[in-house]
């Protein structure tokens, strides 16, 4: 069964403490892996799309990487405003987006 998992479920960091979030998937025929940020009471906000193993994308303190079976979202020197739930999703040919359960990130000042 096609599946997307994320770890850890929750992560607490001190401001400036870098870390990584993991997204693993078992879908075949991947047509893209997507990272989103979701703040409480809001819809997910699109961050990155990755299409092939080895690809990397960066935005401010965030960097997403992709291998054949997983993706990492690296957060460098996080700030409290980076606190949110980070979702990854995969899309395979002709199908909708399958979302992982998310990682709740808290960055303490």
């Amino acid at each position: 069964e096609d599946q997307v998992t994320q770890s850890p479920e929750a992560l607490r960091l001190q401001e400036g403490e870098s870390s990584s979030l993991n997204c693993s998937y078992t879908v075949s025929g991947l047509r893209g892996l997507f990272w989103y940020r979701q703040d409480p009471g809001k819809g997910p906000e699109f961050l990155f799309t990755l299409y092939s193993a080895g690809e990397e994308k960066e935005k401010e303190r965030l960097k997403a990487t992709l291998t054949k079976k997983e993706s990492f979202l690296h957060i460098t020197a996080p700030k409290p405003e980076d606190s949110a739930t980070y979702l990854c999703a995969v899309r395979y040919y002709g199908q909708n987006f399958v979302f992982g359960p998310g990682t709740r990130l808290s960055v303490l000042p």
Binding site: G32, G43, F46, N96, F97, G102
Partner: protein
């Protein structure tokens, strides 16, 4: 418009009533998705429209749920005879294949 627009933003309804939720996708986006998110939970896929193809309805939880889309524009999600377990945020997203999907702010549905 600039983004995906959903209305209403909040809806309180009595158990047994029908509700209709509206989604205006980003202009030109051929794909449109509906998801449900219960409090503290992940996104649950409901239905997916892609151009003029038959929609993927595999995520609809029961025959009380239905959705329509007119061409590549507005979509409505209808829930008939609402139940308390239908209480959730209903999220709509649109995309231009194969890019990522852009979400609206959701409709918070409360069934009392």
């Amino acid at each position: 418009g600039a983004g995906v627009s959903q209305s209403p933003s909040n809806k309180v309804t009595e158990k047994g009533k029908d509700v209709e939720l509206r989604c205006d996708p980003i202009s030109g986006h051929t794909a449109l998705y509906w998801y449900r998110q219960r409090l503290g939970q992940g996104l649950e896929f409901l239905i997916y429209f892609q151009g003029n193809s038959a929609p993927d309805k595999s995520g609809l939880p029961s025959d009380r749920f239905s959705a329509e889309r007119t061409g590549e524009s507005v979509s409505t999600l209808t829930i008939q005879r609402t139940q308390q377990e239908d209480s959730a945020v209903y999220l709509c997203a649109s995309s231009l294949d194969p890019s990522g999907a852009f979400f609206g702010q959701g409709t918070r549905l409360t069934v009392v």
